[in-house]
Amino acid sequence: MSEDHASLYQKVVRITNVYLGPAADRFVTRQVQNHLHKPAEELSVGDLEKLIDWIRVAVSMLTEDTEIIEEYTTQLRRLIKVADKHSS
């Protein structure tokens, strides 16, 4: 496990924390484990697109505010753009 992977997971949790509060860590861990079938700490940039798809539908059951959902997933998508910038 590299430090970059661990920090990506932490970044996802940090963003999620704004929307789900203390449930963020558990929520993200469950999403990664159930949909990506890997430990949360091994989350990689390549997984983010799929993770965001599942997070979007899961959060849609917790709030009807589509703007909040869009804002949240946009924040998460920025992590992909930042990673792409670093790799290029």
Partner: protein, 371 residues
């Protein structure tokens, strides 16, 4: 390589035909169907769903599903958003099946059996589909059945107590001396009332399990002592058939366990009584208790007639009796093992068995230490 079809009136018409067929299938489904998009908004509801919930189509389409169709648990407490079957299907990515309640448009709360699955296109979740049916009638029939058994059982117990009390008084000579034949007849009456009482207890216990009303009161107990007491109670039954019953405790764990005494007693009594009942004269029955770190395993073995392989998957079903023992032992009801399994599940236990026809059967069950 497959060629792309040109957009011609013919292909449009076949697309329309396909859409019409899909729509007809959707509208013809006999259960209620609700489809939602990736934002949890209702995109489609079939006529059965609208009828069950009492809505009109334009009242629900585009509405946020959790808000429009409010869900409750069986105690009519509103389900939190995260506990709704659809949320759990999204969180796990797996289909979820559950009995819950929905509030209809007129405010009435009805029980429903729901089955929800995420809709996936190339692995991407696009929403969810929920199929549900109104189970009001089934629940009512179940409730009436349980009430009837409970009422009937209580009403049967009262006269039985009188029969048993007066039989004992007669046998004890309170109403004058009896002849040997009269005493023998009274013994038969007493054992028949005992059997009837056991049957009523079994029916009452099954009613409690099925209605979720089993009271579990765990306390520390010595499993060896419980088994030994049951052996004493069934000694007469074993002696009448010259069956040897043995008890052994093994394992490195603590022989004491915190569990419900009445449940353990009922389970062990049923298994030991069955072992004696379904073992020919001069056979052997053994109880082995293995104390382990996380649980306690009990094994009740006999040298009996065994369970034919082709009926082994039905052995824990209600009212089931294997044909090879039904004609040998007419007293069984086929409720004992169903009850045993249900009771063990109440305390987190598991039961399984191995059996060879004509050689014997071993029933194993475990009770967890931490509950």
């Amino acid at each position: 390589m497959a060629q792309k079809l040109p957009k011609t009136p013919a292909s449009n018409s076949s697309l329309q035909q396909h859409q019409a067929e899909t729509e007809a299938v959707f509208r013809s489904i006999a259960d209620g169907v609700i489809a939602t998009d990736e934002f949890g908004k209702i995109t489609r509801m079939n006529p059965v769903a609208l009828k069950i919930l009492g809505f009109k189509e334009d009242e629900v389409i585009g509405q946020w599903f959790p808000q429009k169709i409010v869900a409750f648990n069986n105690d009519h407490k509103q389900l939190s958003l995260i506990d709704r079957p659809m949320a759990r299907a999204y969180l796990t990515g797996q289909p979820v099946q559950e009995k819950i309640c929905y509030r209809r448009a007129d405010g009435k709360i009805i029980p429903v059996q729901v089955s929800v699955s995420p809709i996936l296109l190339n692995g991407k979740p696009l929403g969810a589909i929920e199929i549900f049916r109104d189970i009001t009638l089934e629940e009512e029939v179940d409730r009436m059945k349980s009430e009837f058994i409970s009422l009937a059982s209580h009403q049967l117990r009262t006269p039985l107590s009188s029969v048993k009390t007066y039989s004992h008084m007669l046998i004890d000579g309170y109403m004058g001396e009896l002849t040997a034949a009269q005493r023998e007849s009274l013994q038969t009456i007493i054992s028949a009332t005992d059997r009837m009482n056991e049957l009523i207890s079994t029916l009452l216990n099954i009613t409690r399990i099925e209605s979720g009303a089993v009271q579990v009161s765990p306390r520390i107990l010595d499993s060896h002592k419980v088994a030994s007491d049951i052996m004493e109670e069934l000694a007469l039954q074993a002696n009448n058939k010259n069956i040897t019953v043995s008890l052994k405790s093994i394992g490195n764990g603590n022989p004491r366990i915190k569990t419900d005494r009445l449940i353990l007693k009922e389970v062990l009594t049923n298994l030991l009584s069955n072992a004696i009942k379904y073992t020919p004269d001069d056979g052997k029955v053994s109880i082995i208790i293995e104390a382990r770190s996380k649980d306690m395993q009990f094994t009740v073995s006999d040298t009996g007639w065994g369970i034919p392989e082709y009926v082994q998957d039905q052995i824990f079903s209600k009212f089931f009796r294997a044909h090879n023992i039904a004609h040998r032992e007419t007293n069984g009801t086929g409720l004992g093992l169903y009850l045993v399994k249900g009771l063990l599940e109440e305390i987190g236990g598991k039961i399984w068995f191995t059996s060879d026809e004509h050689k014997g059967t071993s029933f194993h069950f475990t009770i967890p230490r931490s509950r």
